[in-house]
């Protein structure tokens, strides 16, 4: 990157380090930090939406809907994450391709399973085989978001389901006594009050989600942990201008600091949110706020 980086072997330590930390390969780890942030920024609200749908259908009075909600919560929570991320994503990708295949190539007579191979017609591939690499990467990224959202949505659904039941029953009964419909009770009384009960569980989930991002590499998205391992591994002079020993410890130390800072900031923000949510609530913390005021 810098003009003096032509012959790294002749540089003194500081200049060598400056050149080393700005190689194209290091740029990849810096961008992967943003990949992680982007993933979290999209996944968290999506997972929450999945959770909300799951929880509200689980407590639905319409039996089949309630079964679907409960089955979603039970199955996804029970399957180990790594199995989910290894096989579910490939299956999901194949499902999308199969649907496109059925629509776009109705004349296709061969089976889509040929021995071990999953073969769909060329125009049904997702993304198309000749699409540029960034399309493939974006598609992989969205598959990752969807998988994360489904997994964490199930946990969030369970938290929200519990939170909905924690809202005092007499509040709901009072609302009904005032003549509110079931829908009105749900949206005006239950939902606004449940968050205070849900937040501790949701904040746990958020912390776990932050630390689950290395699972991204299973999905072909290169995240910071992958790059730390790749960059930190011992390098011999034959294959790089910057040979060094096993530096994984330093890279992982940097990751440790990154994750600690990130979770600390999250904690501070979540505390603020909690403070707002408890305001005026019929809980211990809400009561304390009222007395202090």
């Amino acid at each position: 990157m810098f003009s003096f980086c032509v012959d790294p072997a002749s540089l003194d330590d500081l200049a060598w380090m400056a050149c080393y930390l700005t190689t194209g390969k290091h740029m990849a780890i810096y961008t992967s930090v943003f990949t992680v942030f982007l993933l979290l920024a999209i996944t968290a609200p999506t997972a929450l939406a999945f959770g909300f749908l799951g929880a509200s259908s689980a407590r639905s009075h319409f039996a089949p809907l309630s079964w679907i909600g409960k089955a979603y919560i039970a199955i996804v929570r029970g399957v180990p994450d790594i199995a989910f991320f290894l096989f579910f994503v490939i299956a999901l990708d194949q499902l999308f391709e199969w649907i496109r295949h059925e629509i776009k190539c109705p004349d296709w007579t061969d089976s889509i399973w040929q021995g071990n191979d999953f073969v769909v017609c060329d125009i049904a591939k997702l993304p198309l085989g000749n699409a540029p690499q960034w399309v493939h990467e974006t598609y992989g990224f969205f598959l990752a978001v969807l998988t994360f959202a489904i997994v964490f949505g199930a946990f969030a659904a369970n938290v929200l389901y519990g939170a909905m039941r924690a809202v005092p029953q007499n509040q709901l009964e009072t609302a009904e006594a005032y003549g509110m419909t079931r829908r009105q009770v749900f949206w005006r009384i239950l939902v606004p009050q449940m968050w205070v009960y849900a937040l501790p569980g949701l904040s746990n989930l958020w912390m776990v989600l932050i630390k689950a991002t290395p699972l991204l590499f299973l999905l072909g998205v290169e995240d910071i942990v992958y790059w730390a391992r790749e960059l930190g591994g011992a390098k011999t002079a034959r294959f790089t201008d910057y040979p060094h020993g096993d530096w994984r410890m330093w890279y992982f130390l940097a990751l440790l600091v990154f994750y600690l800072l990130f979770t600390r900031v999250s904690e501070i923000v979540l505390d603020k949110v909690m403070l707002r949510l408890t305001h005026g609530q019929a809980t211990l913390a809400g009561d304390a706020q009222r007395k202090a005021a």
Partner: protein, 241 residues
């Protein structure tokens, strides 16, 4: 959920607009962590013997190729489900793998596998602890010998295991271990070698015979005019043809 569905749909539509054709772009899947076969260079790009070989093969077969990296563990499932079209990742041709995927003819001679250990250690080949990368011919070999096998996801970790004493030695392709032994005074190659594997070939889907024929022809032409030998010599990978 809605935004995701919309996003996926939008992606699907943009993808469909592009021109479709049989293998107008061939996606080459590699690991990027096994020098000299394949590795990520300082610029962050795939480099190594197989990068040069693959680019030359694509030029000869008149294909447009694109390089993709994938973790070793899931490299075969992702090929089979069509996420890329070839595996070119120092993968030895074995009967077990051949049941799942197809191989082109080999582009390296069967390369002996060597043991790397800390200088001065006595390695017990029948009862000791030997490290190898998971899902490799070396791992299968150790598992069937008397020694205890410890597996790692990446080649790099197998070397680290020897360094920190977790394993007595590591078994891997000679071409991978040799530069490491040459540059580290504390690590040595042992005299004993194992002759396993049938050489390295490109992996393809079994249904993809057209592409296999193209690459087979290209490899044959590189064998015939000696350019493959020149590459093998440049990257110091085993004997030539």
């Amino acid at each position: 959920m809605k935004s995701i569905l919309l996003g996926t749909a939008a992606l699907a539509i943009t993808a469909s607009v592009a021109f479709a054709g049989s293998h107008s772009v061939v996606r080459m899947g590699t690991e990027g962590a096994y020098p000299p076969y394949n590795f990520i260079n300082d610029a962050g790009e795939v480099d190594g013997f197989e990068r040069e070989l693959g680019d030359e093969l694509c030029a000869r077969a008149e294909l447009t190729c694109e390089w993709v990296t994938n973790e070793w563990d899931s490299i075969i499932p992702n090929l089979v489900s069509g996420n890329y079209d070839t595996i070119i990742a120092g993968m030895s041709i074995t009967a077990e793998r051949d049941e799942v995927i197809d191989f082109t003819q080999n582009y390296t001679q069967p390369d002996p596998s060597s043991y790397l250990a800390l200088d001065g250690t006595e390695v017990d080949f029948d009862g000791g602890v030997i490290a190898a990368q998971a899902n490799t011919i070396q791992a299968a070999f150790i598992a069937s010998s008397g020694a205890t096998l410890v597996e790692f996801a990446t080649p790099d970790e197998t070397i680290a295991a020897v360094r920190n004493g977790e394993a007595d030695a590591v078994l891997a392709d000679d071409a991978y271990l040799r530069p490491i032994a040459e540059e580290n005074a504390d690590l040595v190659l042992l005299d004993r070698q194992e002759l396993i594997g049938g050489g390295v070939g490109m992996g393809l889907r079994e249904s993809d015979t057209e592409l296999k024929d193209k690459f087979n022809a290209a490899i044959q032409s590189m064998k015939d005019d000696g350019s493959l030998n020149a590459l093998l010599e440049k990257w110091e990978i085993g004997p030539g043809f």
